[in-house]
Subunit: 488 residues, 2 copies
């Protein structure tokens, strides 16, 4: 928990950052403060319920307890693993204990198993006799395996797809391609972490394919993330039939610097396995609506995580605050008018098997889905909400800013695509979709790395996220009228 003086310091720093951004003549901020509209207001009853729900959330340690169990007692939860299975069963049992109607819904999910992974420089400029240097890296999900004793090849360093495309095939064939493209930390600290991620992550997802097309023996990227502490950041990559790994930023720079001086030869061993798809489980748990039990409002996060860390910020936190929403409804006897559906998605990270299956299995029910909320951008302070819905629907929700103003969650920001990947099939079906906008400045410092652990979540900020999700969910379940569908 942060001390009051810590908070003041944070506010001051935030003010400084805003001032710095203004001074840098940045384009108009993308997250304008919400002005309370003169238009629709919530009923006094709803306002009173929302206020007590907000305050209960800010006093509750339930979400943190759940997050602690998921990350520390269960641990890393990659799709297809025994731990993922245990996590689905745990969440189902806990939501059942809260009195919800719970189903474990099977889905075909990916099954990536990390093997041995190591690399070392075998020759490079300035090398001493009998010397080598260790390279820190991790396989990406689409990686093929090397031979058990590895492969050895020269490294070609490029800084963009254009760089690569400019090379003749014979320069690339048989070589190891390294894309040394940094994640833009300054952009992230200025408030555009997801844009910074987007710029760099294309090399993770598509780099190996482009390298393989030119006959490369293997593809390497610089890890997509901030705060360089010699950590590899894993993630999804499109399979390209070649070994494919992410280097710690420091190791990408090392090779880049050495390759500028002369030939660099690398020995690389990666033995990951992409096993056949297996059965995983979405947890789908309903707190039935009192007036419109057939109308559904989803609160959700994804239960699977990458294997290197313990999946705290990505995305144990999203599951924990979704569970806490149901727990608070029960604790405060806030029986919703529509059905509150908690979903803990399986296999967001690798194949998306969980969300695809849900959309198919529940196709007949989708017209009755009123809205879908997903939290999958960490657990830092919630600045507001990202919305994919009609302007009319947005203005219906805006009075919520008055309830959340005391915790600084007031932004209602329209996004062009789904605000979450698991709710994407629902959003594409016209269902209003909502994400929580967490302060993302440091999200990618830990994202997909071994350092995504419980201590990266501030208990007070997790309470704020619970307040944001729970009050939004109560608004959506209890508004007199259904939220209008999104124009397709």
């Amino acid at each position: 928990m942060k001390s009051p003086s810590g908070e003041s310091l944070l506010k001051l720093i935030a003010a400084l950052l805003l001032a710095a951004a203004a001074a840098a003549q940045s384009p108009p901020t993308k997250f304008p403060d919400a002005t309370p509209t003169a238009a629709p207001q919530f009923s006094p009853d709803l306002r009173a319920q929302l206020t007590s729900l907000r305050d209960a959330a800010l006093a509750s340690d339930y979400a943190y307890q759940q997050l602690s169990h998921l990350t520390e007692n269960i641990g890393p939860r990659p799709a297809g693993s025994a731990a993922a299975q245990a996590a689905s069963e745990y969440v189902a049992a806990e939501l059942r204990r809260l009195g919800l109607d719970v189903h474990l819904e099977p889905a075909q999910v990916s099954h990536f198993v990390r093997g041995e992974e190591k690399a070392e420089l075998v020759s490079y400029p300035g090398q001493g006799p009998n010397s080598t240097q260790r390279i820190v890296l991790c396989a990406l999900s689409g990686s093929s395996a090397t031979a058990p004793d590895g492969l050895t090849a020269d490294v070609i360093v490029v800084h963009s797809f254009d760089d690569l495309a400019a090379l003749p095939r014979e320069k690339v064939a048989g070589k190891i391609v390294l894309y040394n493209v940094p994640y833009d930390e300054r952009m992230a600290l200025a408030g555009s972490a997801f844009e910074a991620y987007g710029q760099a992550v294309v090399y993770r997802s598509r780099g190996a394919k482009a390298a393989a097309a030119l006959g490369a023996a293997a593809s390497l990227i610089r890890s997509v993330g901030g705060a360089n502490f010699r950590l590899p950041h894993t993630g999804y990559s499109a399979p390209a039939g070649i070994p494919d790994a992410a280097l710690a930023a420091e190791d990408a720079d090392l090779i880049d610097h050495l390759a500028a001086q002369g030939p660099v030869r690398l020995h690389l061993t990666l033995t990951p396995q992409s096993l056949p798809e297996t059965t995983g489980y979405n947890v789908v748990a309903d707190l039935k609506g009192s007036e419109h039990p057939d109308q559904i409002v989803i609160v959700s996060g994804h239960l699977d995580s990458w294997d290197l860390g313990r999946g705290a910020i990505d995305d144990g936190a999203g599951v924990a605050i979704s569970m806490a929403t149901a727990q608070l409804f029960q604790q405060l006897h806030l029986r919703p008018r529509r059905t509150l559906r908690v979903i803990a998605w399986m296999d967001e990270e690798n194949g998306g098997g969980g969300n695809k299956t849900y959309a198919k299995q529940h196709a007949a029910e989708l017209p009755n889905h009123i809205a879908a909320i997903e939290s999958d951008a960490g657990a830092a302070h919630p600045l507001g909400f990202s919305l994919k819905m009609s302007p009319e629907a947005q203005s219906t929700l805006r009075p919520l800013a008055d309830i959340l103003r005391p915790i600084g969650t007031t932004l209602f920001y329209n996004v062009p695509e789904s605000p979450g990947s698991d709710i994407d099939p629902l959003v594409k079906a016209g269902i209003p979709g909502i994400g929580i906008i967490q302060d993302g400045r440091h999200y990618f410092d830990y994202h997909h790395s071994p350092a995504d652990t419980l201590d990266k979540v501030d208990p007070k900020e997790l309470q704020e996220n619970t307040a944001a999700m729970a009050t939004l969910a109560l608004t959506l379940t209890n508004l007199p009228d259904q939220l209008p569908r999104t124009q397709k």
Copy 2:
């Protein structure tokens, strides 16, 4: 390089930190700003030479080039390794190229070789079927090896030596002891990083001995360092005849949390080897004095590093700025009146073989050693100097603050012990000893970890350190009178 606005922000943050420290009613600051004394002043000639030396240092990239070569072309340089040997030869050749009289002086040095190191939880509260959790750790230098297939035992968590002492022997015997004692990051950020380190590092150096005395099967510590990014920090530990390792902070906390809920059983494999001492080399390079060639002023850093990182802040930087001092003297044709001796020490980290041998081999010469400077606290902004010498000697040096005031290097701070471990035998012999006080707030975030790499050094701050060391060295070689010896 930092932009001007970055500097302003740093200054603002520094001011905030000072204000916060004052508000917290901390004891009087330990680094008072130096008030220029009315007493001895430097001659106009010396002032002019120092000013041009300072400005040349601030414009020179020589130290960074050397640091780059040591860390990236040569790489990690643990004592006894082929890379350490290559580093000694490289530094000798480079100083010879600069025109110095160079000797590679053999010394018996330690020879620690890291083996396999891995650990996983095999049973713990809340564990799912077929689940385990990986523990990130590294062996410490005094560690014995486990059997090749490891050992398995329950973990006992303590938070102090007193905690351990309060346990009956039968509770500890056969168990793995984990000392979960955090490095105090708040203390470090408030300006007392070395005190924070001192509080925690006793568990690294002596924890295994205390655990072994009660029959423990192995000893583990929480890594001594800040900024938790799932990194282990290695270092010296007194051999205790049992396996001995440092866990990433996150893994120490995990085990601590789980052990509070029930028994935690760990499988631990460590196969390090402490090989017989071998021959390593101090590089000792003289730029002969024009008037008193027999009188010696040492500038130094240590060339060996730990094996996990690349030894940039610890202590490639110290060697690089010592080399740069000689290079700048030559570049500016500043032939010193006394002899400038550059030393790149070997085996500071583990056995101290280099400095012990130097003190013995040069015993007859020690009365002519005027002063010894060592930089071994990183490469961040130099705040000033730590001095172990008489008050009279200190006041002789104080006018240097006027020369370095423009770069903010003005503190002259008296220390009770040697300001550096390699110059300790010299300081004990009465030779005035001087260290550079670098801004230490983030030093231990990287110290002894895999993340001690070139990018952690800001080129501009390295230039400031070169300016501090070079101007101090010129002062000491060219002052009219010898610096008085330290009272023993």
